[in-house]
Symmetry: C2
Subunit: 340 residues, 2 copies
């Protein structure tokens, strides 16, 4: 089918290949008559330039790569959507690398920095080790982290410690003292690295500030997911002295907590307050109180920053940090504890 090459067009139009190339890239120095001749030949042969060949000789791909762990999670999807809007503006295509295992992550961190398939790389949520960061910095293409961090690489992040603090403080201000925290696994160097841990720090800070002692039994961790969160909530609520409020490290996990409360016939927020994190779309419908983080915006900013780095290599030397604001969104799942 489309085995028509630029040389075929040149022959058909009776010109040289250079001229055809110039017409395609509408370079100014082509006489009008010639241009027309070539354009006709192109149409007649139904010629379309071969993208890969073009990329090779240009040394530019017009693709950007995105590494997204669990891109099915609502948060990743929202970010991706943000990225997409910027890419569309720049006429860039998106190569998506999903990551669901540690092995896959390592494989990608090994191969991607060569960056011969794209002109820029966006990494979501996975904070690189010093060694990987080193490779990324020295690699041929710019990299921007979104929801992940490393001092040597430009990044778009939120202050997770502050987020954890805000959520916990909100519960304390309502009068709660028995406040639990559930999250995905902190030690996992893999998923959502750091975020849960940092939020936990914020949680601890707020408690300490209020003079509320930390109770180890009020902290649970498990794989991310509604089901696991539901299980953890049940465990917490079965304690001799159950918490009056639960802070879940993500809205998805908060849904599991809501579910558990419902199953136990506990009224929310009268008997149990629940606060999430992220403010994903469905949180509004569920009337879930949560900490809003600008997910869509993080994608937009990350992509925009990446394009800046691509245009101006100098920016790569001096990593930029964009810190996005958090906001408490009070809906209907938090209230003062029973009896206040």
């Amino acid at each position: 089918m489309s085995e028509v090459t630029i040389r075929d067009v040149a022959k058909a139009a009776g010109v040289g290949v250079g001229t055809v190339s110039r017409v395609i890239n509408n370079h100014p120095s082509v006489r009008e008559a010639t241009r027309k001749k070539v354009e006709e030949a192109i149409k007649a042969l139904n010629y379309h330039p071969h993208t890969i060949a073009r990329q090779l000789s240009l040394g530019k791909t017009s693709n950007i790569g995105v590494v997204a762990p669990f891109f099915i999670r609502p948060a990743s999807v929202e970010r991706l959507r943000g990225v997409e809007t910027i890419l569309a503006e720049h006429k860039y295509d998106l190569i998506l690398y999903n990551v669901e295992t540690k092995e896959r992550r390592d494989e990608l961190f090994e191969t991607l920095p060569r960056g011969d398939m794209f002109d820029g790389l966006l990494i979501f949520t996975l904070s690189p080790s010093d060694e990987v960061a080193e490779r990324l910095v020295n690699g041929p293409i710019p990299v921007v982290l979104v929801d992940a961090s490393h001092p040597r690489i430009s990044r778009v992040i939120i202050d997770d410690v502050q987020g954890g603090y805000m959520a916990t403080k909100h519960l304390i201000d309502l009068g709660h003292e028995r406040i639990a925290y559930i999250s995905d696994i902190l030690e996992s160097p893999f998923e959502h690295v750091g975020a849960s841990t940092l939020r936990y720090q914020g949680y601890q800070q707020a408690l300490q500030e209020a003079g509320i002692p930390l109770r180890p039994e009020y902290y649970r961790q498990d794989q991310h997911g509604v089901l696991q969160a539901r299980k953890m909530a049940h465990d917490l609520l079965s304690l001799p002295q159950p918490p009056t409020a639960i802070f879940a490290a993500s809205d998805t996990q908060a849904i599991g907590v809501l579910q558990a409360a419902q199953e136990r016939g506990l009224a929310v927020p009268e008997q149990l307050s629940i606060i999430g994190f992220d403010d994903i779309e469905i949180a509004e419908y569920l009337k879930l109180t949560t900490i809003h983080q600008p997910l869509f915006t993080s994608g937009v900013e990350g992509a925009a920053l990446l394009f800046q780095c691509m245009e101006d290599p100098a920016r790569r030397r001096q990593p930029t940090e964009i810190l996005l604001p958090l906001r408490l969104v009070e809906r209907a799942t938090t209230a003062p504890p029973a009896g206040m």
Copy 2:
């Protein structure tokens, strides 16, 4: 940085480029001693083959393209996840084309069939016109449709008419007669082409079969989205004789209906039955009765079929149709109408 080419390696190892190439692709006829020499040179120079150059000379990209309208919708995301599992097995990468406007769709349908960026193309939800289909069939790479249809192209689909029928029949069997249907815009030749229309046909069929007259005021359409659905539900429930059951063409829209019911203080399912379509993840948490369609599986099957077509070009001549089963999932949002 990585400007090391295969010729540099050849020189360093004191062999010809052909030999280096053979080592890279571990072709058998290389003597052990030579192989070792080359491998050392590769390591010493930190050489990595240039993907794009490889693709050009091989005429193969190891990418597959996916066109997904509104890939942020939970249904698209689930499908994508299915696709991803198959790609990972085959070591293929994923180039994602999001579509949110008619212009973008047309642009993609114009440029993608050339298929020089990938070895196979998956199109979600957008049924091609005869003209586009013609181009796809004659194009250089195989194409598979998922949740979209054209007689000349292999596809993975569900029976939307039957789905509409099942949902409506369920409500009728419960005793409902005042059954409304809401959907996204039928005439839109663009989004979710056909599905809503076909489900509407199933709805009509079921009503007719039960001898229930069709009431035009019980059918509403608007852009896809929770908010729009909520508005439509309010309109329906404000009618002098409001419906006792609402069938929403997607779970997302069903959420809007749930919201409206809640706002009006209508008990679900006692005063209003609601049934959705898709069975997205959150439907379970919401206890939404719905028609389950195998979203994840559709991605898996679509990708698998595509790989078959890529391996065996003969399969392209004879388009395959894979019809996935639908299933009614009864949860807690449907019940007999009040007073039965």
